[in-house]
């Protein structure tokens, strides 16, 4: 691989990420399984960096998981999203930031579809008016919350307490990054680095001292598959795809996994537990799993947040091996204290 050439291509795959003044919408899955990630994200951008991220209690799910499970028609999804855009418009914002990759893909899909089929946009405007007497403007900018952290990665490093470096050896930690299918597979131009060279997480990992592993199944799905996980009968699909990724990455001896999408860390974390239970197989060193993180959790660790304030006790695969490698100081007894 000619690194210089790749870096040149990456420089051509950048996207516009506004500096400030965002309308923030939450993720169903992140709130359920990695709630502290949203808390730390807002704490970083609002309290540490003084940026304007507005949230209204009136926003709801975008309906994305139901849509990709084929439980709601496309018009229903579009009208729920149109309502979210109306809330943004009413609040006086133009920059829309979401905490979910499924949502991010959906917003891009809807805006693109309306662009190509204006009669559909008109129909949805009519349906929204009929349902809630609301009107909306299409956001000037739609970004994922990780795009914001990517943009702020060097500021985070400058204010950081720790780096993604092995304290004992001084070597960069070996990072697997998983961006989630709907970040840029459908609309490559909407993601940092496109679909070929996604850089949103790589940029963070490298800025914070780590080195990213390029393994064969790097871009393979985490295994969610919507109905393929949500229905118990189908979960063989889900774990098989996760298994494929772990078998592919294991020879490269990763120290950690950083994820973009809220669902992926759940599957990469939980299915490791199940594979160990079923086959007695672990993929990390010393018969342990590979710790899996959200990008907000990693940003929080770099900035010196307490691991249990970051919600790392809600992970099934233990995170301590990574904390110890970095040399993060934490209290073991506090882990499950509630």
């Amino acid at each position: 691989m000619i690194v210089e050439g790749k870096k040149k291509i990456w420089s051509e795959y950048q996207k516009d990420i506004p500096d400030d003044h965002y309308f923030y919408v939450r993720s169903c899955i992140r709130q359920n399984f990695f709630p502290a990630s949203e808390k730390v994200f807002l704490d970083i951008v609002r309290n540490r960096l003084g940026l304007d991220f507005f949230e209204t209690p009136h926003h709801t799910t975008c309906g994305g998981i139901a849509y990709h499970s084929d439980s709601i028609p496309q018009e229903t999804l579009m009208t729920i999203v149109a309502r979210q855009f109306a809330l943004m418009t009413e609040a006086g914002y133009e920059n829309y930031v979401c905490s979910c990759i499924t949502s991010f893909g959906i917003y891009n899909e809807i805006i693109d579809t309306w662009h190509h089929y204006p009669e559909l946009e008109a129909k949805i405007r009519g349906l929204l008016w009929e349902a809630s007497k609301r009107e909306f403007k299409i956001p000037k900018s739609v970004v994922h919350a990780s795009d914001v952290i990517y943009k702020l990665r060097n500021t985070i490093l400058e204010n950081g307490k720790y780096r993604l470096v092995n304290k004992t050896t001084g070597e960069p930690l070996r990072v697997v990054e998983h961006i989630g299918c709907h970040y840029s597979k459908m609309f490559p131009s909407k993601g940092v680095g496109g679909a070929e060279y996604p850089y949103v997480l790589t940029g963070m990992a490298e800025a914070w001292g780590g080195t990213v592993i390029d393994y064969p199944e790097r871009r393979h799905c985490c295994g969610f598959g919507f109905r393929q996980y949500l229905v118990q009968a189908n979960r063989g699909y889900s774990i098989s795809n996760t298994h494929k990724k772990f078998e592919s990455m294991a020879p490269f001896k990763p120290d950690m996994i950083i994820t973009n999408c809220p669902g992926c860390p759940y599957f990469l974390d939980r299915w490791q537990y199940v594979i160990e239970e079923l086959e007695g197989k672990t993929y990390g060193a010393d018969s342990k799993g590979i710790p899996v993180f959200t990008y907000e959790e990693v940003a929080g660790l770099v900035l010196g947040y307490d691991p249990w304030d970051l919600g790392l006790q809600m992970h099934q695969t233990a995170v301590e091996p990574l904390l110890d490698k970095i040399g993060i100081i934490y209290n073991k007894e506090d882990k499950y204290k509630i």
Partner: protein, 228 residues
């Protein structure tokens, strides 16, 4: 005509351009590795406009195997989207009631109840009080600990579980849930849910199963015919 019905779906219009049968979509597809599934054949079938074959698809198991990762969209050299075609086929299969003819199609009942139920009752697709460890043993001992200590764990990490105002897992006001219900009503989601319920109820009755028995069966049974 079924092909014309499919063409009414914007995802179908966007997803079907001109398939050259190269099979790149099948090579990249996670579902094709796991199930007896071939997105190339599905795309070619709908492209043929053969009504009998399209009807077979709508009643088949195969249209339910896709995980909608949309990797096929990135890789197709002719800008087709087999994943989008699948969405249109599943939509029409439910509209026509054909979903009931396949084991995987019948799962739409439990998906609808869980997901639409969460959206209409709470404003979330996934909601912790309806996510039970007994249905999700893969969430492990930590998942059980979270379920057993739901309020305390969420309070510890900064959630606003069922609380007023903004924040993580806040209680979404009833007026907003009412708006979601009206959106469901005017966009066809309510009608879709009722159709799935009615057809599934008839099926359960034919099988002599109670609603609970039927749902449990649909949620858990996975026959061997799905694999190569």
């Amino acid at each position: 005509m079924l092909y014309d019905r499919l063409m009414e779906d914007y995802r179908f219009k966007e997803g079907l351009n001109a398939c050259i049968n190269c099979g790149t979509c099948t090579a990249i597809c996670p579902a094709a590795e796991f199930y007896k599934y071939d997105p190339r054949i599905i795309t070619d079938t709908v492209q043929s406009k053969d009504e009998a074959e399209i009807e077979k698809l709508l009643r088949s198991e195969t249209i339910w195997y896709c995980g909608q990762c949309m990797s096929c969209i990135t890789r197709c050299p002719r800008k087709n989207g087999p994943g989008l075609i699948i969405q249109a086929l599943r939509n029409l299969s439910q509209e026509l009631g054909y979903f009931i003819d396949s084991e995987k199609g019948r799962q739409q009942l439990v998906l609808n109840r869980a997901l639409c139920g969460n959206i209409l009752n709470y404003g979330y697709c996934v909601y912790p009080r309806t996510f039970h460890h007994s249905d999700h043993p893969e969430s492990g001992p930590v998942g059980k600990w979270i379920e057993d200590n739901l309020e305390a764990v969420h309070k510890r990490v900064g959630s606003n579980l069922d609380g007023e105002g903004p924040g993580i897992l806040r209680k979404i006001p009833q007026s907003d849930l009412d708006e979601l219900k009206r959106i469901f009503d005017v966009t066809g989601a309510t009608e879709r849910m009722e159709k799935i319920e009615t057809i599934s109820r008839e099926r359960a009755k034919d099988l002599g199963l109670s609603d609970e028995e039927y749902c449990r069966q649909v949620f858990t049974i996975n026959s061997e015919e799905h694999y190569i």
